[in-house]
């Protein structure tokens, strides 16, 4: 079977990420294009189309051998197949950081730690509970409340002088904590750092309970948050000092696309494994679906 060009679409609750990947017959992968579209109360189908079209346009291809979805993308009408989020993030992480043997996927609604082998096969996972305090959406809400742009959150947090702890369990209580902090005159930087440290503590415990060691790749939208990364480094160091297995955190500028990239690569794998020749799918056909 010849080289394949496949697409992955990661439908998240706040953004849809799409990637187009070329997979050579002998197994090498190249990212050809990517797209990202924010949901912002729009119809998901519209957002999916926007991200997908952007990725296909950047890739400069007019046909795809497999369109794979992940996340909440099960009902995408022009998809060939769907992969569970953890499966896709594990493979995407390997593409972006081949040494990774665990992934910390931090998205808008939840976080999960995933362990995997060298092929990207998921070996185990731990997730945050239903509470949203460990999520990107919670952080975004707080930033909005503080009048801080999402892009400023990381730098502000790193520059904090006297961070104060917030409730690490319940988003509602954490929000109450933040309101109290604001009324007490704490700076936005200290508040954000407190939240980052609270989230980082939870994520570090997730990784430790999973038994993660070696290189841990951070995927998902919050991977781009430098403040969270710094807090997480600190939490993991503190954990190691208490006897937890040492881990090395790695991020990538393409971390938010990890799921989409992983889905695309698995799509090519399935095409080859199942002998699915003739699955070509063009953007023109997609628009008719």
């Amino acid at each position: 079977m010849s080289a394949a060009v496949t697409a992955g679409i990661d439908v998240g609750s706040s953004a849809v990420k799409a990637a187009v990947v070329r997979i050579e017959e002998e197994g090498g992968e190249t990212l050809l294009g990517r797209g990202l579209a924010r949901v912002r109360k729009r119809e998901v189908a519209e957002v999916v189309a926007e991200a997908f079209d952007a990725a296909v346009a950047e890739a400069g291809v007019d046909g795809l051998d497999y369109v794979a979805t992940t996340g909440e993308g099960e009902e995408t009408p022009f998809a060939t197949g769907h992969f569970y989020g953890m499966t896709a993030h594990a493979r995407g992480a390997l593409f972006l950081e081949p040494r990774a043997r665990a992934v910390l996927d931090v998205g808008a609604l939840h976080a999960r730690a995933i362990s995997m082998d060298a092929r990207g096969k998921v070996l185990g996972y731990k997730m945050t509970s239903q509470c949203a305090s460990g999520s990107g959406q919670f952080l975004e809400n707080i930033a909005r409340y503080l009048g801080v742009a999402a892009s400023e959150v990381g730098a502000l947090s790193i520059g904090a002088q006297k961070p104060e702890a917030v409730s690490s369990i319940c988003a509602v209580l954490a929000e109450t904590d933040v309101i109290n902090m604001v009324s007490r005159g704490l700076s936005a930087a200290d508040i954000l750092r407190g939240i980052h440290e609270s989230m980082a503590g939870r994520f570090a415990r997730l990784l430790q309970s999973l038994g993660a060691e070696g290189v841990v790749f951070v995927s998902g939208g919050l991977a781009a948050d430098d403040g969270l990364a710094a807090a997480l480094e600190g939490a993991l160091k503190a954990g190691a000092a208490r006897g937890a297995k040492p881990v090395e955190l790695e991020r990538h500028v393409l971390s938010p696309w990890s799921g989409a990239i992983g889905a695309a690569i698995w799509g090519a794998f399935r095409r080859r494994r199942a002998g699915m020749e003739g699955f070509a799918w063009t953007a023109k056909e997609r628009s008719r679906a």
Partner: protein
């Protein structure tokens, strides 16, 4: 406003009927046919041919699903009893089943048997019959016993309906249900061969509706559905092919069926509404129709957890046989919580599946389960494991 496609029209029709807890379609049919009566039946298998031959409308009573608040039903059952009888009692006590002149309770399990007694207490004016299905294999003695039971049922229903069951009326009913069975076999065949064209949710709704309306209405809609499916090649989806086992009595919520398929599985065989397919093949139309119906059940009932199987290895082999017939990749054991027949069989079935290296997962549901995230995770990771690592 655009007209729905022929396929969407059938699915909409089926959904409306299947989800209607007031059985408006059955009631409307009775109102349009003064003097006609209806007989309800509980899962899994009831000889609907006898009901039809008596001129009555057979109506499947499959519980209230996730759309019925249980107020009175819980008073009749301990917490370790499945959900179906609670919602059936609730349906009855709320007057939703007051159009039934008879109710048949097959020997599915102790709970269904005892429900027949409870029904006699709460609705003494309704004819109740416990169907003591023969167990123990295809013996002439079993066929004779079942024929006698069917004879009693035919006489009783004939009396209630005011129209005696005759050889001719029974032959007509058997022929009619042979046509239904044939159509359902065809629907299952098309789904098995091209599962992306027949979502299991649609198939389930169609069959469920078919147990509430006159047979002719079901046949008409099922044929229209098949024609629409045949006319649309659909878009091939890359999913794991699974057999769902264990949901033969208390039906899973529609959301659960959708969740399993959305998560990356194609259901290519199942035991939902199993009574429709309990008799494998056609019932012969020549000779004594009552005897033919009895022998068809005794000799050709599909093996399932409500029937005794003398050979202990038979249960262990069953899953392998079903998976091979469906060309499936794996099995999902999905049973109602506290379903004794399914859960008692599960260890044997699962051991057989694992011995044959068939991937499987198991979960439990109730007809009113409303949260599907855990099923989504299980089915999604199961599908990925099959698609990416199956055979390792």
């Amino acid at each position: 406003m655009t007209e729905p496609s022929p396929r969407a029209a059938v699915v909409d029709w089926a959904a409306q009927i299947a989800e209607d807890l007031d059985f408006a379609a059955a009631r409307a049919h009775l109102a349009e046919n003064p003097g006609r009566k209806a007989a309800g039946y509980l899962p899994v298998y009831a000889p609907r041919e006898i009901v039809r031959a008596a001129g009555m409308l057979p109506v499947g009573v499959h519980g209230g699903g996730d759309r019925l608040e249980i107020i009175r039903g819980d008073a009749f059952y301990q917490s370790y009893i499945c959900h179906l009888p609670r919602s059936v009692i609730e349906l009855a006590q709320s007057g939703r089943l007051d159009f039934l002149s008879a109710v048949l309770f097959p020997a599915t399990c102790d709970v269904i048997r005892n429900l027949s007694g409870t029904w006699q207490l709460v609705s003494p004016e309704v004819y109740v019959r416990y169907l003591d299905l023969p167990q123990g294999g295809a013996s002439e003695l079993a066929a004779e016993f079942w024929k006698e039971e069917l004879g009693v049922l035919a006489a009783d229903l004939g009396r209630i309906a005011g129209r005696a069951v005759t050889g001719d009326s029974l032959r007509e009913a058997i022929a009619a249900y042979n046509a239904v069975r044939s159509l359902i076999r065809e629907l299952y065949r098309v789904r098995r061969e091209t599962p992306w064209r027949v979502p299991s949710e649609e198939l389930y709704l169609l069959l469920r509706a078919g147990e509430t309306v006159p047979l002719e209405a079901f046949v008409e809609r099922a044929r229209a559905y098949l024609a629409a499916v045949e006319a649309d090649a659909g878009r091939v989806r890359d999913k794991a092919r699974v057999v769902v086992v264990g949901a033969f009595c208390e039906p899973p919520p529609i959301g659960l069926i959708k969740t399993v398929e959305r998560a990356g599985c194609s259901i290519v065989d199942d035991d939902f509404l199993l009574g429709n397919r309990m008799i494998d093949g056609d019932v012969p139309l020549d000779g004594d129709p009552l005897g033919a119906l009895a022998r068809a059940f005794v000799g050709r009932a599909v093996r399932n957890s409500t029937l005794y199987e003398a050979d202990p290895e038979g249960k262990r082999r069953l899953i392998g046989e079903r998976v091979a017939a469906a060309r499936a990749d794996g099995v999902i054991f999905a049973s109602a919580s506290f379903c004794d027949p399914a859960l008692l069989d599960r260890p044997m079935l699962r051991a057989g599946a694992e011995a044959a290296c068939i991937p499987c997962i198991a979960f439990q549901f109730a007809e009113n389960t409303g949260q599907f995230q855990q099923f989504r995770e299980q089915a999604g990771t199961f599908a990925d494991a099959i698609k990416l690592w199956g055979g390792e």
